[in-house]
Structure formats: C-alpha cells, structure tokens
Amino acid sequence: MKNTKLELSVGLFVLLGIAAIAYLTIQVGTGAVGGGDTYLIESRFTNAGGIHPGSSVMVAGVTVGRVEGVRIEPSDFSAIVAMRVLAGLQLPTDSMASIKTTGLIGDKFVSLLPGADATFLKPGMRITLTESAIDLESLIGRMAFGSVNQDKAEKETK
C-alpha cells in the first residue's frame, strides 16, 4: 500500500517534469531556428557593431536564420557577416541586408529585404547591397548639438 503510493507520487512527479521540460524546449526555447537544412550567405558591412554570432536574421520581421560569425576583411577594413538561412527560403541576388535594432536599445539583428531579380543567392554568395548599423550614440550626440545634417554632409564628402 505504502509502496504503491510512493510509486504513484514519483510517477506523477516525473511525468510533470517531462511535460515541463518538453514545454520549455518546444514552446519557449524556439528562439533558435528549429531543425531543417540551412545554407550560408555572407554580406559586407562598413559597420557591424552589435552583431554577434547568434543574432537573428529576419525577413519581413520573421526570424529565418542566425548569424554564424563576424570577421574583418583585411583589404578594406569592412566587416563580413556570415549568416545561416533556412534552405527553403530563396533570396533574389539583389536582396538588401541592413542592421536594425529591436526597440530603442534592444538587440541588433540583420534584416534582409528581398529584391526582384529572377536569379537567387546560392550558398556562399555575398549580398552586396547593405546598410550598416546606425551609430545611435553619435546620432544622439549630434542631435543634441543640432548638427545632424552638417555631419552627414561632412561624412558624404569623405
């Protein structure tokens, strides 16, 4: 009698635990792109600040991949961001990659804006059209001193 009671309570506890772990991994822990094949593409940014391995890659606000790595291109000091994107997603060659922020000070992520070309990016190819991270701090600084336009003009002449 005592033993069966013990068995019952242990059984219930373990069942509850398995349900909890399953809920966590399936429902909550879906931040990562789930299983399925992926392919690697690259893009070149002048400034990849705030992008780390693991940052999201999004198309139209939907996570479609992860940043695999960030490295420096020694020839022109630009940042090369390697991304893994779901294999089912075919991106036109003239797609544009830009670095955006969730909210005002949130995580940085790579946003892909699909183009209109009839040819698609193949694994290992590089996106050429890019828009770098907005340097929020200097932007705020410039806004505070009221010289946004002037600075921008200066930058463009560089």
């Binding site: 033993n3 013990l6 068995e7 309570s9 242990v10 219930l12 506890f13 373990v14 509850l16 635990g17 398995i18 909890a20 772990i21 809920y23 966590l24 991994t25 429902q27 909550v28 822990g29 879906t30 931040g31 990562a32 693991g54 999201s56 996570t63 969730t102 909210g103 005002l104 000070i105 949130g106």
Partner: protein, 268 residues
C-alpha cells in the same frame, strides 16, 4: 629579529597545514563520490531506492519550488518593469525575465531551495545513521553502505534537479507575466513573444546542465558531510549531527555558487 622569523615560520606552518587539509578534503570527497557511483552495481532493489530518493527530493520539495518560483518571477517582473520603463523598453520585460530565469536564477535558486529542504534532511539522516551505528551495521552485514545509502540519492539528484529547475522556470515566467502584464502595463502578447524570442536551445542546455551539476555537487557534499559526521572532533552525538547538517548546507550552497560562476564563464 629571531622572534619575527619564528612568527613567519609559524604562519607558514599554519598555511601549509590548512592547505594540506583542504587538499586532503577535496581528494577524499572525490573518492567518496566516485566510490558511491561505482558501488551502484552492488546495490539490489536499486529502482525502489532511487524512487524513494526521487520522492524525497522531488514530490516533497515541490511546494517550495512552486512558491519560490512564482515569487521570483513576480519580483523580477516588478523590478524589471520599473527599470525598463525608464528607457521606454517595457517590451523587453519578457526577455529580461525569461533569460535571467533560464540562465541563472532558476538553476541556482532551485538548487539552494533543494539543499535547504532535501540536502539538509539527507545530511542529518546520514549523520544520525552514523551516530547510531546503522552505517556500521550495514557494513558488518556486507551491504555496501555507499551503494545503499548514497548512490541512489545522487542518481535521483541528476533526475530531479533539472525537473525542478524546469518547473521553476515555467512558474517564474508565469509570475513575471502576472506582475508585468496583469498588474503593470506590458501587453501580454508583447511579453510572451519576447519570452519566445529570447530563449534559445543553447540557454536551455546551459540551464539543465547547471541543474544536473548542481544537483550532483550539492547532494554529494551533503552526503559526504552526513556520512562522516563522526569525524568531527569538536562535537559528538546530537551536536555532531547538527554540526554536519550546518556544514552540509553551507558548503553545498557555496559549491553551487562557485560552480555556477565557472559554468557561466564557459557559456558566455
């Protein structure tokens, strides 16, 4: 000058003695844990023993885990909301609550609560069994006392701690949603989507790995202290049991926090 030198020598001796004692203690503890696992094979009716241990650490401690989990989430939601709203980023509340729970709070707090409830009881039980010669009686019968008394609890800890931690996480996230989106002004859809976005498989991996390591570590520290309650020179009898229980709780809590730092530094 001579007095000065002899003081230095005394200090060096003291330091050396302390160091040797610590080294001996760590080595002896590792041997103890290893021997317990090795003697698993010699224990019969192992399933029943493990089930009993799962009951002790699991079902019995469930209410504490539930209460502490919910309140941790409530407080995280409350504090996080007020900090984030200064920057207008209340939308990140779900991220804050879920990531701090999954990565740190749940494994550490759940382990500390389990040490307080199950670990202390385990150490005291072993201490009394040592004191009343029950452990010696097992040995004279030819029963492997490590395998019979300690090993099932260590195996149970490896099962129970991750489960309790998972429950802690879920209840904490619920608690955060109660204080964040029911009582305060975060939209519940925003909260939950932030939660789903924030937690990755890697974080859960870290979470469960921590829980299993903490479980094994804390339960074996408690077992070691209780099992050797008679080694204490300064206290005997009931005092020795209370001293070994205190040491078990204090040392295993410290061990959990140190291990937490080490594991976190590998994952970050």
């Amino acid at each position: 000058m001579g007095v000065f030198m002899s003081i230095i020598r005394l200090m060096l001796h003291w330091l050396g003695r302390r160091t040797l004692r610590v080294v001996f203690g760590v080595g002896d503890f590792s041997l103890f844990t290893g021997r317990s696992f090795l003697s698993l094979a010699q224990t019969k009716r192992l399933a029943t023993r493990i089930a009993r241990a799962v009951h002790e650490q699991g079902t019995v401690c469930l209410p504490v885990i539930l209460i502490v989990g919910v309140f941790t989430g409530l407080v995280l939601g409350l504090q996080g909301y007020h900090v984030l709203s200064r920057f207008g980023s209340q939308g990140l509340l779900g991220t804050l609550v879920s990531l701090s729970l999954v990565r740190e709070m749940a494994p550490v707090l759940a382990s500390l609560m389990l040490i307080g409830q199950a670990g202390s009881a385990f150490a005291a039980e072993l201490g009394i069994q040592r004191n009343t010669e029950q452990i010696a009686a097992l040995e004279t019968m030819g029963v492997n006392s490590h395998g019979y008394l300690v090993a099932p609890r260590l195996v149970a800890a490896l099962i129970v701690f991750p489960i309790q931690t998972a429950l802690f996480v879920i209840l904490g996230i619920w608690g955060g949603s109660i204080s964040g989106s029911v009582l305060l002004g975060v939209d519940s859809g925003v909260y939950w989507s932030a939660v789903h976005r924030a937690v990755e498989a890697r974080d859960l991996q870290e979470c469960f790995m921590k829980a299993a390591v903490f479980g094994l570590l804390s339960m074996s520290v408690c077992a070691y202290q209780g099992f050797h309650a008679d080694r204490n020179r300064s206290a005997v009898g009931a005092r020795a049991v209370s001293a070994c229980t205190t040491r078990a709780v204090v040392l295993s809590s410290i061990a959990v926090l140190v291990a937490d730092y080490i594991i976190s530094s590998f994952f970050v």
